[in-house]
Symmetry: C2
Subunit: 299 residues, 2 copies
């Protein structure tokens, strides 16, 4: 079934203990599309400026990404500059230039309105809801968010969550949004806000999938070198949604496997800067890692 | 096969956000014995003072613990006082009175010298090695350690590790002992120090079991309330060693299941202060939780 992502396409400058990159291809919609693109064709809605390199457009197109929703507009492309310390768990933002992203109002091309699977990357919750409004009959709506929206627009975010089936967020955000320190209690409160599935990401500690009556615990793939964690969350969502959108119906088992595919895509992504590792990732690499995940938890 | 623990028996005063206890039964050998005691009879070597309450001795005996190695000596019992903050991950030590534990030199009763499975709880690595020397032909030796010994007696600790089959330690200790931040690399370095199995405990994030050619990832049982984490590591080791000592031979699968039983015993232990939850834990509770662990990771 069709899959849509609405988010950012950006140029990222990132420094980690393992190296650095200047104005590499980045952005939530980019990471999501390339990760999900290993499973299915992705419809993308985002905005770039006049300076956005044509080679990046060509790359996205070469991976089968539907770019009818990519708007090129007057001004400069969104730029983010950040760095990671030794523990790699949290990015330090050094500079954010929103540029054309500042006035981004996602308008779906008519051909996208019949989309079945929708991923609302981390943008203003009012804009996220505006996207849902434009879709005729969505089958599954997923969204990401961040501490900034949780503290600045909690009411708008909760309105959006009432329209969402799957909520992705990290551990700290889950605690912040639910207002408590126990993760189980937090998950229960988040489920009460609307989503039937809550995915809590914990970086190198894996991820949890909560439903009303079940919990699934996915490990993270043990890696000797994490070069650049940028985009891990969006690659995760891309693997999850890409796999799920290709299944006939959503079952508990498929949701669990989707979480594993999300973990796999995130594990590839962090092995190199920008999209460098995902570019080279083949379907057989993904399946090999899937088998490794099985071995990791078998007892 | 027979199982021995050498460690502390103590009186703990603990305060957490969920309550507090004054001079409750504690100590590494105690937690280990009661957890392992759900699987097998445990031989204990430890020291207490003249003030050690007889009811605690009676309790240990009632759980089948072999107390021929419990030495009662002139002076006061080891006391520890600590508190935990909201996140419950690290204890803050408020007071340590070693008392009779200060001059503890573990001497095994002759009847213990044929022990097959040995757990050296967290004591001076020279004393740990002295215990191994007293055992005729151990089948499997496991040990725990802590940041204090890693920084103050690294050479003695490494000598001990060369005699050990299974090393238990937490994530921070693993990084400290191996001298690096990546856990995979650290585990490989720890394996090179002697143990054929390294168990890295990560609290609410679960535990990892490393062997030369494999990794096993155990989840932690998701709990809504963690009342008191004191003794979690020793209960963990108790479940692990108790289960393993009852198996016919050590295989990869049995080591993995041992890790799950360790996680289970730790999960019960933290649900209440002192031994209060483990006291009530029945074999069927353990098996129910074992099945829950399976469901938690199935995909």
């Amino acid at each position: 079934m069709s899959l849509l992502v609405v988010g950012s396409v950006a140029l990222d400058s990132v420094k980690t203990p393992h190296g650095e990159i200047q104005e590499g291809l980045g952005g939530s919609a980019t990471y999501f599309s390339i990760a999900a693109g290993c499973f299915t064709k992705v419809r993308l809605v985002a905005v770039v400026g006049e300076d956005f390199p044509e080679r990046h457009v060509a790359f996205l197109r070469s991976r089968g990404v539907d770019l009818r929703g990519l708007c090129r507009t007057k001004g400069k492309t969104f730029r983010w500059k950040g760095s990671y310390g030794e523990d790699m768990n949290e990015a330090k933002t050094l500079k954010t230039e929103l540029n054309v992203f500042e006035t981004f109002r996602p308008a779906l091309p008519p051909a996208y309105k019949d989309t079945s699977f929708v991923f609302l990357a981390n943008i203003d919750p009012d804009l996220q809801r505006g996207v849902v409004d434009q879709i005729t009959d969505p089958h599954l709506v997923a969204c990401d968010t961040m501490n900034y929206w949780i503290s600045s627009k909690p009411r708008a975010l909760k309105k959006t969550l009432s329209r969402v089936d799957v909520l992705f967020l990290n551990e700290g955000e889950a605690r912040q949004l639910a207002g408590g320190s126990n993760l189980l209690t937090a998950a229960r409160q988040l489920l009460a806000m609307g989503p039937s599935t809550v995915v809590i990401k914990r970086g190198e500690y894996g991820a949890l999938l909560f439903k009303k009556d079940s919990i699934f615990w996915a490990p993270a793939y043990p890696l000797e070198t994490v070069r650049d964690p940028t985009g891990a969350g969006d690659s995760f969502a891309g693997g999850f949604m890409g796999y799920l959108s290709r299944q006939k119906g959503i079952t508990e088992t498929r949701l669990r496997r989707a979480l594993i595919y999300g973990s796999i895509m995130a594990s590839f992504n962090v092995e190199d800067f920008s999209l460098n590792r995902l570019r080279k990732t083949k379907r057989e690499d993904i399946e090999r890692r899937f088998r490794a995940f099985r071995m990791l938890v078998r007892f």
